[in-house]
Amino acid sequence: MNGMLVFDVIRFELTRSLTVSRMMVWGALVAFPVTLVGILANRLALVEDAPKDQILGTVMFILIPEIVCLLGLLLWATPAIATEIEGQTWIYLAMRRSGRGVVAIGKYLTAVLWTLSAALAATTICVALSWPEDLVFMWLVLSGLVTLSCFAHAALYLFIGLMFRKRTMVTAVGFTLIVEFGLTFVPALANKLTVNYRLRGLFQNWLEWDTLKTPAEAVYGSEPVSTHLMALAIYTTLLLGLSLWKLRVSEFPNQQDG
């Protein structure tokens, strides 16, 4: 696959996405966690002996890698191909020698970049507002988690968008609620297959907050960092591979009546 072509797809997609409505969504994604963390940080400042870093760190983790990233990617990655098909513009792309695969990867990376930029901006402001003891380390941990969340969830939503061409958003939202926010907390083998379980495991491992781990080991997991990273890499690669395969074998006829 030609890397420069992927870069051109990203450039084209970003150019055509710079609309007022998209920028407003971007702004809302940043403002949402910043507002909540700002309010909470203010309140906690009045409470003596509160484990401020742990509370704010956990809230930031839930709000940014687990919610902001998912919301952004739901809007960007899920309809990436479906909107082209519905708008009947996919035929122009599918007619190109490098159309299907390159465009899919380009759109995937565009979704990652767009959401990542909002999530990183939110992380930076939130960390600055919460001002933890080790500010840089907290920022690095959250930024790492945000990055991993974007790559893995974008692959998931791109795959859902390709597998369910009708009611795509409903399916993606349903999957998120049931699997990523429901099943992920069930202490069984199934929760190990969710992205959020891996992100929580990494969050706990990197910050080494035993106070959080002990009462809820099944929720945070006990695997080492390497296992979580490996699982996320496999998950992302597998879903991207399946998406590309699906694109290769799917029929995308021009749907005009003729």
Binding site: F12, T89, I91, S98, P253, G258
Partner: protein, 311 residues
């Protein structure tokens, strides 16, 4: 250039195209058929967007479904519109060419050359959301020709164009065909195609009814009865003149007795003798209506031929 062997395509229980056998050398062809006849399905098969349920499709000797690299040799102008409102024609066409693997500089040059060819140079930097339908059609043509394909496929390119736009489009396509490039032009309006090429494929109900030049199709139709309708209060008396004549295939009279529909193997014979009968019998015939050569009439005749109803 194009070879289809016993190609059928089913959509569930619905047949898109049925047992198509076509072998076309390089050249310009019109693909004619009414809406829903299977034209777009055929185009989708030729461009590798659909896989045949049965049979094999070859374009330039390659299977477009499996060998996607060959799409570089095809330019497609689909019937569907382009809806990237905040992207300019220049950016879009350049992007489309780039996806064929051309360098950035070459993509830009090819895009601008193609847009110039469709007379869009002045407006190519404006966002497409501000374009008229005609301008978008021209932009679609530009993306189809910009990579210099060996075969250009156009699906209903006149859709939505005003008379001036139609004229300009025809001029451009005539020039394209005159340069010796291959062209497949799908339309449900016969005269649009006649202005560009004299070679046709007529498709109806997913079946290829005929292919060849207009003269060849006329020869096929020579054995097929042509319909002629006569209106007037004395058509009943005229009918008695026609019974038993060997060039009359069938006679049908309406209930009111003022409209006579004839299926004629040789309409010229009627035209030669009609004036004489009117004069000698004192008949009053108000109106004679022959097949106009409209697509529906031609297709109806071809369908009869296809069913073996012709003599």
């Amino acid at each position: 250039m194009i070879e289809l062997k016993r190609v059928s395509r089913l959509y569930g229980k619905v047949i898109g195209v049925n047992d198509l056998n076509v072998k076309l050398a390089a050249g310009a062809y019109g693909l004619v058929g009414p809406n829903g006849s299977g034209k777009t399905t055929l185009i989708n098969l030729l461009t590798g967007q659909l896989r045949p349920t049965l049979g094999s499709v070859r374009v330039f000797g390659e299977d477009p479904w499996h060998q996607r690299d060959m799409l570089r040799r095809i330019g497609l102008c689909p019937a569907s519109d382009v809806l990237y409102p905040n992207v300019s024609a220049s950016e879009w066409v350049q992007y489309q060419v780039r996806l064929h693997g051309f360098s950035l500089a070459e993509s830009r040059e090819r895009a601008h050359t193609a847009l110039d060819r469709v007379d869009m140079t002045d407006r190519m930097h404006r966002p497409m959301g501000s374009y008229s339908l005609g301008m978008r059609q021209r932009t679609k043509i530009a993306q189809a020709i910009a990579h210099d394909p060996d075969l250009l496929i156009l699906d209903e390119p006149y859709n939505g164009l005003d008379p001036v736009g139609r004229y300009q489009m025809t001029e451009m396509l005539v020039q394209y065909a005159e340069e010796g490039r291959s062209l497949l032009f799908a339309s449900h309006v016969l005269h649009e195609i006649e202005a560009i090429t004299s070679s046709f494929m007529l498709i109806h109900g997913g079946r290829l009814l005929a292919s060849g030049t207009a003269a060849e199709i006329d020869m096929i139709l020579a054995d097929t009865p042509r319909e002629v309708t006569l209106h007037g209060e004395d058509v009943t008396r005229l009918a008695s003149r026609l019974i038993g004549l060997d060039w009359v295939d069938s006679i049908s009279l309406n209930k009111q007795g003022n409209q006579l529909t004839l299926a004629l193997l040789d309409p010229q014979e009627l035209y030669r003798q009609l004036a004489g009968w009117i004069a000698s019998d004192g008949l009053r015939i108000d109106r004679l209506q022959a097949e106009t050569g409209e697509l529906t009439a031609v297709l109806d005749s071809l369908l009869q031929h296809h069913r073996g109803e012709a003599r």
